[in-house]
């Protein structure tokens, strides 16, 4: 992975991709249900929090130029801590990928392939992983940079095309389920910005290390704009009662788009762009997985490891017995894992490493 050198746009696109992938599934529902009509207000608030978080991560990582959190944990606690942190990141990425894969495959099955076996849909996604891992290192990031603008333009188009169905009164009551639910409990909605976790692994692969600040801030801002457009579209179109029943709220809003009598159902086209984004997401996740694995095990090439990891994710995604478990894993478990792991543990490691470095400097 360290041989990869990413430009600013490629790095920003990675974080936006992760945001998009979450948003096309049940994430909007998970954000909106606890805060109800205050979803937009909550999202603006959470976006500000995410921006602060990304700045803090940048500031802490900036003390160790060119090192990611795994290298920093080695500095803090030696090889043992490095391997523990690496393993935790690996488990985190594999868990999120398998849950999202299962949810997306299930949604596709319901919408378009009711007669198809779930494993067949999962297998198509799984096949894409080794392809993206075996091609040259930077390929998946380049491909992502081509696909993501299309998806982003799609969401702008979706917002504009659905304006005629908007009911702006849906934002009332302004504070939804109350100020406490919107700003105190609602702060946990920061898990929507799961892409921020990538910031911990980004510094060594950036072409221009000085641009890390720009990448951190711009990616969070872009993700926020994307989320605001998504949530605004859903909030203005559906009442809070109806969106709680939707499996993919964003998909439901796409079905309303029509131009004259000819273009009445463009949902398949949108789904095609989301499928592309999801392929990119899997490719990126596995690129990080294999590089983390390489780092903690010192294997020579990380290409071959993509095959067993793919099988592992395929197996994990088949584990949940029904969709209620997947939904729980995606909406609740992922929320707390993000809060504990991405914010709690990771920040703690960075703070402790910073203190150790400071103490070392004073000593010298």
């Amino acid at each position: 992975m360290n041989s990869i050198k990413l430009g600013n746009f490629e790095a920003i696109a990675i974080i936006v991709t992760i945001t998009i992938t979450h948003s096309i599934l049940t994430l909007p529902k998970s954000i909106m249900v606890p805060v109800d009509s205050a979803a937009l207000l909550n999202l603006i608030y959470v976006s500000i929090l995410a921006l602060f978080l990304s700045i803090i991560i940048y500031k802490l990582l900036n003390n160790f130029p060119g090192l990611d959190i795994i290298d920093i944990s080695e500095f803090l606690g030696g090889k043992i801590l490095q391997r523990i942190v690496g393993l935790l990141f690996l488990i985190y990425v594999l868990f999120v990928s398998s849950v999202l894969l299962r949810t997306f495959a299930h949604c596709l099955k319901i919408v378009y392939y009711p007669m198809t076996d779930l494993i067949f849909i999962l297998a198509i996604f799984a096949v894409s992983i080794p392809i993206s891992c075996t091609l040259s290192s930077e390929t998946i990031f380049k491909a992502n940079l081509i696909i993501i603008p299309v998806v982003l333009l799609g969401i702008v188009f979706l917002f504009i095309a659905n304006t005629k169905y908007f009911n702006f009164e849906n934002i009332y009551p302004l504070f939804g389920n109350g100020i406490n639910a919107t700003f105190i409990k609602g702060a946990s909605n920061i898990f929507a910005f799961g892409g921020i976790t990538v910031l911990y692994l980004l510094p060594p692969i950036l072409k221009d290390k000085m641009q890390f600040k720009k990448v951190s801030i711009l990616s969070t801002v872009l993700s926020s704009i994307y989320f605001i457009l998504t949530i605004a579209t859903i909030l203005f179109m559906f009442s809070s009662v109806s969106f709680t029943n939707e499996l993919m709220p964003l998909y439901s809003s796409v079905r309303y788009i029509e131009f004259g009598t000819f273009f009445q159902r463009l949902d398949s086209v949108f789904l095609l762009t989301w499928i592309l984004a999801f392929f990119c997401y899997l490719g990126i996740s596995f690129r990080f997985c294999t590089s983390i694995y390489k780092k903690i095990t010192n294997i020579k090439s990380n290409k071959i490891i993509s095959y067993p990891l793919t099988l592992l994710v395929l197996g994990l995604s088949l584990l949940p017995k029904d969709e209620s478990i997947t939904s729980f894993l995606e909406g609740t478990v992922y929320r707390y894992i993000f809060l504990i792991f991405s914010i709690g543990i990771s920040l703690l490691i960075l703070v402790l490493a910073y203190l150790k470095k400071k103490a070392k400097t004073i000593k010298e």
Binding site: S128, I140, A143, I146, I147, S268, L272
Partner: protein
């Protein structure tokens, strides 16, 4: 006929030996024999190599025997050895001329080689002193003279061969190479030097209008098979001494001449070195065409996507040379190879810069749509009709269903059959003699298509899909690029049939991945977009000519500026 004779005849027919009447020939493929013959061939090659590496002898007889042996003159009918007596300074020397009939200009040999060497004239009858004083100084009554001794080879070279291109060779190898390329060799008794005289004169095709890259506004000249004519065509367009044309030979046996062309003051040196490195490190027997060289030097040939531009237009080569690219010409092929090449280059036509940007951009957008249609329309049709019928308006869906009502085959069989039939018609149209070509098209496209619809083998809507796909494939300017799209569309058909838009999504993702993984001589295939670099004048869309003031930064040119920031000085600076 009596009984005895009858019995005799019968017995003769029955018992007489009859030789085998059927004729059977087969190449002996016995492994032992094969090994023996391979060893023999290896020994012969080694022997030939040793003999060619020999230096030229002073004895004319030995030289002649050597040449006769190397060229197999006893069985080779077009190798001519002409013995004669050479006159030089009033003395006579035995000599012979070696050339290949049909490859030389006979008049040039007669008038400027044989006549001047054989006939007695002022030059060769001059009987001056054998030693020539070059310099003389006298100091203290002592005269110091610098004397040059008479040198026959120098004399012949300087005074007796009135030809513009004559080389003195000391090795048989050099002489043989020259003779094989259409020169004649002069061997003279008593000197261990032979002369390689350029008297090439074989018939060649004249410069014609391009056949495959036809444009309306622009030059109407194309390359020919002769490498020197091609280099001169490029030089005529560029008109600058910084254009370097280096010659290399490729092929152990064929010794095919290749010319590497680049602008010394523009092209990145690393790029030139890389091109030379790849061409110099080819271990092949024969190089017959630029297509072969393209396959041998491109970065990645796994996916079938071309990474080197091939063109028959000197003006296109000149344009790319001025941008800082390298052009390689191969003797015997009317195509030039331009490297590196990116996706944007394959979608550009030489005409784009000759017409107003608004027109060329319209055409470029059309070409991009054509690319998407060629790649995705058949697969998309299969995906929509099999999985995503809701995307179609109800009326259109009904008409498609009605059209397919009597078709007995599944959609995949229907479309693959039609696409293969179309490819068959295209291939047959190319291979048949040109007067029959249009007939094939008419028979294939009109009669067979109409008949297939009437017979309910295919639906009319499918004919429309296949026809639009075919027309779109012709709109892609580059033949090789268009070819790979034609092949890839079959994968998309299968993927669309297997999993609808999910399958197509997989295909598109894999295709984009492949494109992003490719590099052409170190330049990513998808520049200037991914990785992003300046698109000013080098993006997919054509900028106005006054805006094209820099060269593409991904080529790392020595000279970045291609024109002044304000190129139209008449308009802006005089006011």
């Amino acid at each position: 006929m009596n009984l005895k004779n009858l019995t005799k005849k019968l017995a003769k027919q029955l018992f007489e030996y009859k030789p085998e009447e059927s004729y059977d020939f087969s190449i002996n493929n016995n492994k032992d024999n094969k090994n023996q013959s391979i060893q023999l061939a290896d020994n012969t090659v080694k022997y030939e190599k040793d003999r060619k590496n020999q230096t030229i002898y002073t004895s004319l007889t030995i030289n002649k025997e050597n040449i006769q042996s190397i060229f197999n003159t006893l069985i080779n009918s077009d190798i001519i050895i002409r013995d004669f007596i050479l006159n030089a300074r009033g003395k006579q020397y035995s000599a012979f001329l070696l050339y290949i009939d049909g490859m030389v200009n006979v008049n040039a040999i007669n008038d400027f080689v044989l006549e001047s060497l054989m006939l007695r004239n002022k030059a060769n009858t001059y009987d001056g002193k054998e030693e020539r004083i070059i310099h003389e100084t006298t100091t203290n009554n002592i005269t110091v003279r610098k004397i040059k001794k008479f040198d026959l080879s120098e004399y012949i070279y300087n005074s007796l061969i009135p030809e513009n291109s004559v080389k003195k060779c000391t090795k048989f190898e050099d002489i043989i190479s020259g003779v094989n390329s259409g020169n004649c060799a002069l061997f003279i008794d008593t000197i261990n030097i032979a002369f390689d005289i350029d008297v090439k004169g074989f018939n060649q095709r004249s410069i014609e209008a391009p056949n495959n890259e036809v444009i309306i506004k622009g030059s109407q000249e194309s390359f020919v098979e002769n490498i020197r004519t091609n280099t001169s065509q490029i030089r005529r367009v560029i008109n600058n001494e910084n254009l370097i044309i280096e010659n290399l030979t490729v092929g152990e046996i064929s010794k095919t001449k290749c010319a590497i062309c680049y602008m010394q003051n523009i092209t990145n040196e690393d790029l030139v070195s890389e091109v030379k490195f790849r061409i110099n490190n080819l271990s092949i027997d024969t190089l017959l065409s630029s297509g072969q060289l393209e396959q041998l030097i491109e970065d990645n040939s796994r996916f079938g996507i071309p990474q080197i531009l091939s063109t028959e237009r000197p003006d296109k080569c000149a344009k790319h040379l001025m941008q800082g690219r390298v052009v390689v010409l191969v003797n015997g092929t009317p195509y030039g190879l331009i490297m590196p090449a990116t996706f944007v280059d394959y979608m550009s036509s030489p005409e784009d810069t000759n017409i107003k940007p608004i027109f060329s951009n319209f055409l470029k957008l059309l070409r991009f749509i054509a690319l998407i249609i060629t790649l995705l329309l058949p697969g998309g049709y299969v995906a929509i009709t099999s999985f995503h019928q809701e995307i179609l308006p109800t009326e259109l869906l009904f008409s498609i269903l009605a059209a397919r009502q009597y078709v007995p085959f599944p959609i995949i069989v229907e479309i693959v059959t039609m696409e293969l039939s179309f490819e068959l018609i295209r291939e047959a149209g190319l291979r048949v003699p040109s007067p029959v070509g249009p007939t094939i098209g008419i028979v294939g496209a009109l009669i067979l298509g109409e008949a297939a619809v009437n017979a309910n083998i295919v639906s009319p809507i499918l004919i429309i899909v296949v026809a639009i796909t075919a027309i779109s494939s012709f709109a892609i300017p580059d033949y090789s690029f268009s070819f790979h799209v034609r092949i890839y569309r079959f994968f998309f058909i299968v993927l669309g049939f297997m999993a609808g838009f999910l399958g197509l999504g997989f295909g598109i993702f894999a295709y984009i991945l492949i494109m992003c993984s490719l590099k052409s001589f170190g330049v990513p295939y998808t520049v200037p977009y991914v990785p992003s670099s300046s698109t000013r004048g080098h993006g997919y869309l054509v900028s106005p000519i006054w805006k094209q003031d820099t060269r593409a930064d991904y080529l790392g040119p020595k000279k970045e500026k291609s024109q002044d920031k304000i190129s139209m000085k008449w308009k802006y600076e005089n006011k």
